[in-house]
């Protein structure tokens, strides 16, 4: 009885110390004690983030072999390579919480772990490569900048590194759009069409309105999250509208209007039915993206096994030599 009480009060003391530390703005390192709910929240968020980077390679990879110039191919390939690298840092950062990459991939395959909904939309023309870089990476940056100061140190370090690369991606995507808007009639149509299709899903990347957002209270108290979904979405809209105007693209929202009093743009209603439908698995590419990942993973199993077998054989040999 005494023992149980001791454990309970010890746990309470640790929790109090943890909360105090977080409130003081100190970073939490992997070796530090942390409540189980904090660890779980981070694993969910970081693995989802890692999977998003990796699944995001698919819609962009769709245009690699058809890039219209050598320079365009180089920029796109390097960008996708960056995204794969982000996936790797984030898997490693999540591994510091006591989960392996293998387990995270299993959770992706069995539907327990998610990835960003945006990648369930198809990339149909070359202009989509511009739109993804400009809008999707642009929205990701807004989110990630605010995560640079997140309380879990390995996550925050990964974000600092990732953000530098993301702003390149955003600029390069914008450059593709700008170039196309100065091009032929067909190119301008293609660019506007991509804008029309990617604008609303990009706004949905920030998640539900604050009034409908689950999981948020703990995330704020623990300083994992530092700005609300609506604050971040507003920031993205305000910076993007002007960029669109400069190159002659129209934002596909008739209700979009500058609000002088608030000092920001008012925008139309987001189609949350669509958002929820796609999240539940019924988007244009949900099945395709996950099937692709599963198939590649299964097809590559023999390669990973070969590397493992080779390593084990030669480990034994070098041990025998000693």
């Amino acid at each position: 009885m005494d023992n149980v009480q001791n454990t309970v009060s010890k746990e309470e003391a640790l929790l109090a110390k943890f909360e105090e530390k977080v409130q003081a703005g100190e970073a939490i390192e992997p070796r530090d004690w942390m409540p189980e709910a904090y660890r779980k929240h981070l694993i969910r968020q970081m693995s989802q983030h890692a999977h998003s980077e990796v699944i995001g390679m698919q819609p962009e990879g769709n245009w690699v072999t058809r890039a219209p110039s050598l320079r365009a191919k180089q920029i796109l390939l390097a960008k996708i390579q960056d995204e794969g690298g982000h996936g790797l840092y984030l898997y490693s950062a999540a591994e510091t919480l006591g989960i392996s990459r293998k387990e995270m991939i299993e959770q992706l395959h069995n539907g327990k772990a998610k990835y960003s909904n945006i990648f369930n939309y198809p990339s149909l023309t070359w202009a989509d490569i511009g739109a993804i870089g400009w809008l999707v990476d642009g929205a990701a940056i807004v989110n990630q900048v605010s995560l640079q100061r997140t309380s879990y140190a390995p996550y925050s370090r990964a974000m600092v590194r990732i953000c530098k690369e993301e702003s390149f991606h955003q600029r390069q995507g914008y450059e593709i759009m700008a170039q196309m808007m100065q091009g032929t009639e067909e190119q301008r149509e293609m660019a506007q069409d991509a804008m029309n299709r990617w604008w609303w899903p990009s706004l949905m990347m920030f998640g539900p309105h604050d009034t409908d957002s689950p999981h948020s209270a703990d995330a704020f108290r623990w300083k994992i999250k530092r700005h609300t979904n609506d604050e971040l979405r507003q920031k993205f809209i305000d910076k993007t509208v002007q960029q669109a105007e400069v190159i002659g693209l129209t934002i596909p929202d008739p209700d979009l209007k500058w609000n002088e009093a608030k000092g920001c743009y008012d925008y139309g209603r987001i189609d949350w039915e669509e958002f929820n439908r796609v999240i539940r698995g019924n988007g244009p590419c949900n099945k395709q993206r996950l099937d692709h990942h599963k198939k590649v993973h299964a097809d590559g199993a023999w390669v990973r096994e070969a590397a493992e077998a080779y390593k084990n054989k030669h480990k034994k040999q070098s041990v025998n030599l000693n």
Binding site: S69, L70, A78, T184, V296, W302, E305, A309
Partner: protein, 252 residues
């Protein structure tokens, strides 16, 4: 043969090898057996795009008809490409891709080691840069071929199969015609007869370490020096050139 004409064809040959193999490797994007390999294959592809740009730009200058590296990459038809048949072969499985890479990177290592001393300054400069990259490509391919050869029963079977299937495309790497003879005399091109034994020795050693059998030298496929390719090239170009062909007036 006029010197400019020989030099133009020779430059295209080198540029096309880099261009076509970069395209093949880029097809692995999001398809590799682990992310680390996805990134590594992308690296190889990026190196080769860089090399293709430099060589095709130079080819355009030699020809003097105002063609850029992009015109040469995206607006020629099947019969105007001079890359080796080996590099246009489809990726197949990972073993196939690595066997192809081992064969071509070993060739390029010896080839560009000679070319570094070419009297043509542009070639010498491109060779120096390429060599640094090719050393890494070769190490990477060699490590994987050995791992697969000495890994599991399945991996051993797959890599041996890939080596056997691709062997008939290796003879063509060393073919020489009037273009080579002209340019060798001028101290510009690499003598392929001289590097052949080095390649044989290197490949023999790697395959032996990997516990793999070196195939018999049977019939060797040929044709690329005359712009005659396997059926695979047409499909590759169709995909690669799609936007440039569909929107000929557009700039991207």
């Amino acid at each position: 043969m006029a010197k400019q004409d020989a030099l133009f064809k020779y430059t295209l040959r080198l540029g096309d090898n880099a261009l076509i193999l970069s395209q093949r490797l880029s097809e692995w994007c999001s398809y590799a057996p682990l992310i680390e390999e996805d990134l590594a294959l992308t690296n190889l592809s990026l190196d080769m795009i860089g090399r293709a740009q430099a060589l095709l730009k130079y080819a355009g200058e030699i020809e003097g008809m105002g063609k850029t590296e992009d015109t040469l990459a995206f607006r020629r038809s099947e019969r105007q490409y001079y890359n080796n048949l080996l590099v246009e072969q489809p990726n197949g499985d990972f073993a196939f891709t690595m066997a192809r890479q081992l064969f071509i990177s070993a060739f390029e290592l010896y080839f560009y080691s000679e070319m570094e001393h070419s009297k043509d300054k542009t070639f010498a400069a491109i060779a120096a840069k390429t060599l640094k990259e090719v050393k890494y490509h070769l190490e990477h391919a060699k490590d994987w071929v050995i791992r697969m050869g000495d890994g599991t029963g399945e991996s051993h079977y797959r890599i041996q199969h890939a080596v056997n299937e691709l062997w008939m495309y290796t003879g063509e790497l060393f073919e020489m015609d009037d273009v080579d003879k002209d340019l060798i005399e001028q101290g510009i091109a690499t003598d392929l007869d001289a590097i052949r034994p080095l390649w044989n020795k290197y490949i023999g050693d790697v395959l032996e370490t990997a516990a793999l059998i070196v195939p018999e030298n049977g019939y060797m496929q040929t044709g690329s020096r005359k712009g005659i390719h396997t059926e695979h090239l047409g499909h590759l170009l169709c995909e690669m050139q799609y936007l440039q062909r569909a929107y000929p007036d557009a700039k991207w």
